[in-house]
């Protein structure tokens, strides 16, 4: 396995599993593991990302531990009711306002990648209405983001829990093409791809086939799963599938970063132990 896999400049460790611990604990744990870049999930009780003062406080904490935020993932299945696809007339307005406030504060953290889903509409309503609503809102957010040098990364939800609008790679590609903004790209997540019954290799090929590979894939998340985002070896995909996904991405010419995410209730009480195991897994591949 090439050295680049454990290149700390490419590995981004996500903090979902620290949601029951403090930001200080999370930061210290990241530092002890040798992490530099993090995927920040502000839904945890760490900060109110729409509040400037709170964001500055949090940014100071990360600087103290030498950490940099690579990607921001504000949603967690309705915990923060951010939903750009929902038919409720107030949801769209609020979601857009929330996202814009968040983008206004992202510069404080020095983060330029915002990961969002296409949202979810009620299943008893015509699917195309949700699609059009989501596309319209993504365009608006994309334009707002472009003015701030921010890249929006659209993720799919193969498990159909958080989004029933973009679930597969085909839907992700269709939405990206219809939005048509160069700063709205794909967040590839091998767990979501597996949950949709797809193969990572095929998804990679589809998102690369337009010839705009570097532009279409903005970031990749690789974990075991799809029961959750699991430690390699603890999900149904298995260690080999996880390693192969990373290798395939490199071979395709992908030059961007990789998020390694743990998100499952079993990790919540001792997240630092599992982060060490995650880091050790990738270190042992050399």
């Amino acid at each position: 396995m090439p050295d680049r896999i454990t290149d700390l400049n490419k590995m981004v460790i996500a903090g979902f599993h620290y949601n029951r611990h403090s930001a200080e604990f999370f930061s210290r744990s990241m530092k002890e593991c040798g992490a530099v870049k993090i995927e920040l999930c502000p839904y945890a009780s760490w900060l109110d990302i729409t509040d400037r003062d709170d964001t500055e406080r949090f940014a100071a904490l990360l600087r103290r531990y030498g950490l940099r935020t690579e990607t921001l993932v504000p949603e967690y299945g309705g915990v923060v009711p951010f939903n750009i696809g929902l038919e409720h007339p107030d949801a769209g307005k609020w979601s857009l306002l929330y996202a814009k406030k968040m983008m206004d504060n992202m510069s404080v953290l020095g983060v330029r990648k915002l990961v969002i889903g296409a949202g979810r509409q009620s299943a008893d309503l015509p699917a195309e209405e949700g699609w059009e609503r989501s596309r319209k809102n993504l365009r608006e957010l994309g334009s707002y983001a472009a003015e701030r040098g921010i890249c929006i990364l659209l993720c799919s939800d193969g498990g159909n829990s958080f989004s029933n609008i973009v679930r597969t790679t085909d839907e992700q590609l269709r939405m990206l093409n219809e939005v048509g903004l160069s700063n709205v790209r794909a967040y590839m997540d091998n767990v979501s791809i597996a949950a949709a019954g797809e193969r990572f290799e095929e998804s990679l090929s589809k998102l690369s086939s337009s010839g705009k590979q570097e532009g279409m894939i903005g970031h990749i998340c690789i974990s075991d799963g799809p029961e959750g985002w699991m430690l390699p070896g603890e999900g149904s995909l298995g260690e080999e599938a996880v390693k192969n996904a990373l290798e395939m991405a490199y071979e395709s010419g992908y030059q961007g970063g990789f998020s390694c995410r743990l998100c499952h209730w079993k990790y919540d009480f001792t997240p630092d132990q599992y982060t060490k195991k995650l880091k050790a897994f990738w270190d042992n591949q050399q």
């Binding site: 029951r20 611990h21 403090s22 604990f25 900060l47 409720h88 007339p89 107030d90 009620s122 009480f269």
Partner: protein, 280 residues
């Protein structure tokens, strides 16, 4: 089969949480099909986004409820995640949480509900327990004071250690209620939470006394919020405790498992049939 002498089907309440994949209209129509009259509404669902729903949005909901002949008896916001969170160590998020409950109380008053319900919150697990406890007490005092202006009671529910590190058992919740010191703060029993805490249901019921206000009926292993018969809790035993005591409050049939949410009406119906077979 056990037959209850006192518990009535008219005490049954259904919550909208399981219908999160569907529209509010679908949920209301489903309640009509099921013959349900009384509802618990969750304020972080797509039906009722309490954090930002407009006045028109609330009035629209009220009109639809009335058109269906449905009565809202309790409102809640699922606080088993990190937000909203009355025990959060982040002051700003705690303030936002109190604001959410302020809005929930306003909605409760508009709908005619007499209670709102919440979990005790969760402080950082690497911080002292007492910090989370004191933060939760502070938030609860504020929420109870607002509730008092509306004549509404606040139900605080103990839950599993995964959801809260403030109150996991009935003993914990009574300590919390005592510390908060507000007469409109009450509690309830959830079959799964009681099972998870290892509480004897009858003992817990008696300990709550006049603070006992509400029930979540569900099976579990011990958590899970399952249809009766699909878990290993003594569902009928818990119901018998309530029946023997002549409990006349609301009985919310609350199931949540991922296996149910794609066809919620089917699984609600299964539970109702189980209950109707045993009730008057």
């Amino acid at each position: 089969m056990i037959r209850f002498k006192n518990l009535k089907s008219s005490q049954i309440v259904i919550a909208n949480g399981l219908y999160w994949r569907y529209s509010f209209d679908y949920f209301l129509d489903s309640m009509t099909r099921l013959g349900i009259r009384h509802l618990e509404l969750h304020g972080n669902s797509s039906h009722f986004p309490v954090e930002f729903i407009s006045r028109d949005g609330l009035l629209n909901m009220k009109a639809k409820l009335e058109a269906h002949g449905l009565q809202v008896v309790n409102l809640a916001v699922d606080s088993s995640y990190s937000y909203p969170n009355i025990g959060s160590h982040n002051d700003k998020l705690r303030d936002r949480t109190v604001d959410i409950y302020r809005r929930l109380l306003m909605a409760a008053y508009l709908f005619g509900a007499k209670t709102i319900q919440l979990l005790p919150g969760r402080g950082a697990y690497d911080h002292p327990y007492e910090e989370a406890f004191e933060n939760a007490c502070g938030s609860l005092r504020k929420i109870c004071d607002i509730a008092k202006e509306y004549g509404i009671r606040v139900i605080v529910e103990n839950s599993s250690p995964h959801n809260t590190n403030v109150a996991n058992s009935t003993e914990d919740i009574l300590r919390l209620i005592d510390a908060v010191g507000k007469d409109n703060l009450v509690s309830m029993l959830d079959f799964c939470s009681a099972g998870r805490a290892g509480d004897d249901f009858k003992t817990a019921f008696e300990a709550l006394g006049d603070k006992m206000c509400y029930v979540h009926m569900c099976d579990g292993t011990p958590m899970g919020h399952l249809v009766p018969g699909e878990g290993n809790l003594d569902f009928d035993g818990c119901m018998k405790v309530l029946d023997d005591a002549g409990y006349s409050g609301w009985l919310c049939y609350e199931i949540y498992h991922d296996n149910y949410n794609r066809d919620p009406e089917k699984h609600i119906r299964r539970g109702l049939e189980y209950l109707y077979d045993r009730m008057g």
